[in-house]
Symmetry: C2
Subunit: 344 residues, 2 copies
């Protein structure tokens, strides 16, 4: 079954009747090789089923043609979309991808990074675990290979990054609700310490302010770190004497908790309550009613990340300065939002 052993370049050389150097040049189109020999080498390689030994090649040449993809949490559908696109783009560019999932665990993230380092991957795409690398940023800065941060920045680190305008994401959500006539809106979010959540909150508040609405502090559910916390927070919001007419969830996981609470309270969307979320979900479009969301452009993010990384690897980017790409989110209006009910 797994007994066969692969031929080496030496055996190809013997069969073709040339030296190993010539085989290498012929197969890699490097250096001068006569057409006749190239042909002989090619067929020799093919008949033996020769597959160059990547380890040997990269040991000598210094490049592995492997990228490391370190994802904070692969169960997050948005990150998953990124993984999908990135694998596809990398593969098209002739690179393989080692996939690492940190499960939002800083320790696992660090172990994985060490492995990627040992593996001498040509470049690393990092969606960092929240609050990881606090105080150990140096380790990242000193990385011998190019690094691109994706979706999440790391303050104190001068590195290339591709993110979205999170203030705008919040703003789009706020503006949409405002235009529909909502004046009594709530938000479910993570930690306000966390820049992404904070920016989304800021943008949301700012949009409401343009309509003269002040976001009620009582209706800001902070520090929801998972679906369960969001679920409970939303239940509390819905059980208030004066129930909000619309709720924004600032990420994927919180949205699930929000939806669960809404169905538990048997509130009809969008008639009794408008629901809007940041991040698309794989089923947002299938749900009835469809979920109105602010979408992050995952394809564009993946594209910017990969092309930025490949530029660095190829030495095509100005050494020294970090390049920060910021992309714009966009609003997808579906059925879960509408004008507020007549009487609150």
């Amino acid at each position: 079954m797994s007994g066969a052993v692969l031929p080496t370049i030496r055996e190809v050389a013997r069969l073709a009747g040339v030296s190993v150097a010539t085989v290498s040049k012929a197969l890699n189109d490097s250096g001068k090789v006569s057409e006749a020999l190239r042909e002989r080498v090619d067929t020799a390689a093919r008949t033996l089923g020769y597959a160059p030994h990547a380890s040997a090649r990269s040991l000598r040449s210094g490049a592995t043609r492997i990228l490391g993809l370190l994802v904070a949490d692969i169960t997050n559908p948005f990150f998953l979309k990124l993984v999908e696109h990135i694998e596809q783009l990398a593969s098209a560019a002739g690179y393989s991808v080692i996939l690492c999932n940190s499960s939002e665990d800083a320790e696992r993230e660090e172990r994985h990074l060490g492995m990627l380092l040992s593996q001498r991957v040509d470049g690393i795409l990092l969606i960092p675990v929240r609050d990881s690398w606090r105080g150990r940023i140096g380790a990242l800065a000193r990385l011998p290979q190019p690094l691109v941060l994706v979706d999440r920045m790391l303050d104190g680190l001068e590195a290339d990054s591709v993110t979205i305008d999170n203030r705008m994401a919040g703003y789009l959500a706020g503006e949409h609700l405002l235009r529909l006539g909502h004046r009594h809106v709530a938000i479910v979010m993570g930690s306000p310490e966390h820049p992404i959540a904070r920016h989304r909150l800021d943008g949301f508040r700012e949009a409401l302010a343009t309509g003269g609405i002040a976001l009620d502090e009582q209706l800001i559910a902070r520090n929801c770190f998972n679906e369960e916390a969001a679920y409970r927070a939303v239940l509390a919001l819905l059980d208030r004497a004066e129930r909000p007419t619309a709720i924004l969830a600032t990420n994927n996981h919180l949205t699930l908790g929000l939806l669960r609470a809404v169905t538990d309270r048997a509130l009809a969307m969008p008639d009794a309550l408008s629901v809007i979320a940041v991040d698309d979900l794989p089923f947002s479009a299938i749900m009835r009613p469809g979920l109105t969301v602010v979408m992050q452009p995952s394809a564009a993010i993946a594209e910017a990340a990969i092309s930025g990384l490949l530029d660095r690897i190829g030495g095509r980017a100005p050494e020294g300065s970090a390049r920060a790409v910021v992309l714009e989110p966009r609003l997808a209006v579906r059925g879960s939002t509408a004008a507020p009910p007549r009487r609150a």
Copy 2:
């Protein structure tokens, strides 16, 4: 930014004042090394930030500690769950995973496999593209590294495999509907040529037969290869004079089409129509009503696949004979199925 160059074992040796061989032995716990020296070597390695060069190591030792994971279609939530589990288990066992997505394209699958071969991965987990390798099974059989087929078998290939009992999957669905009292049921499926679909159909039919019900040939929508085809096929089924009271979708993608058709025709689940599917979807439990499904035990599949592969890699499996693990699916009853309406 990316200027640093990593230290080699030679520099660690110099700093610790020993030979490179000793460093290697000390760091790998192989051979005899005094406690004092091991300590010296350890600190030397740490202060230099030494990370062993994986290519060099595997060139010499013959093992890469990398597994190849070749997935037919990563957008399939079931396969995705497998990827998730497999990455986690592999990582826990000290292996890295190169993720390759074939997008149900045989050509891409073959290119990826060639790359994994060059990469000399220690083992390969393969969820093959449908109908790929037809007539070229030999290439797979001659692979120098262990291979485990996951979820889909490849006929003509004597290889380890981990699958589920697809007949049973169909049977469970049929039995459930039968018990609820349905007599007029439909099924949406892919090609009957394809063993998985065929077995699910067989099991379904068999279950119905135990209740004396013959599956109406008119109500078998064959050759639905994607969501769109399923959507149209279901619309046709629903528009029949005598509408079925329950429908089974035999996989993930078809389920989406089925659900779309049902909402388009504004049929209430489960009152007007019972819906059941093979394969869980990430939102089946969140949907209202929740979707009744036959679930494949993804964690168990991943576990069997990885441990089988590692056994082969470690030479702990009897050479020669292929081991076929078959796991049992299970039924998760949620809100989308109920007794049929009084009058058809």
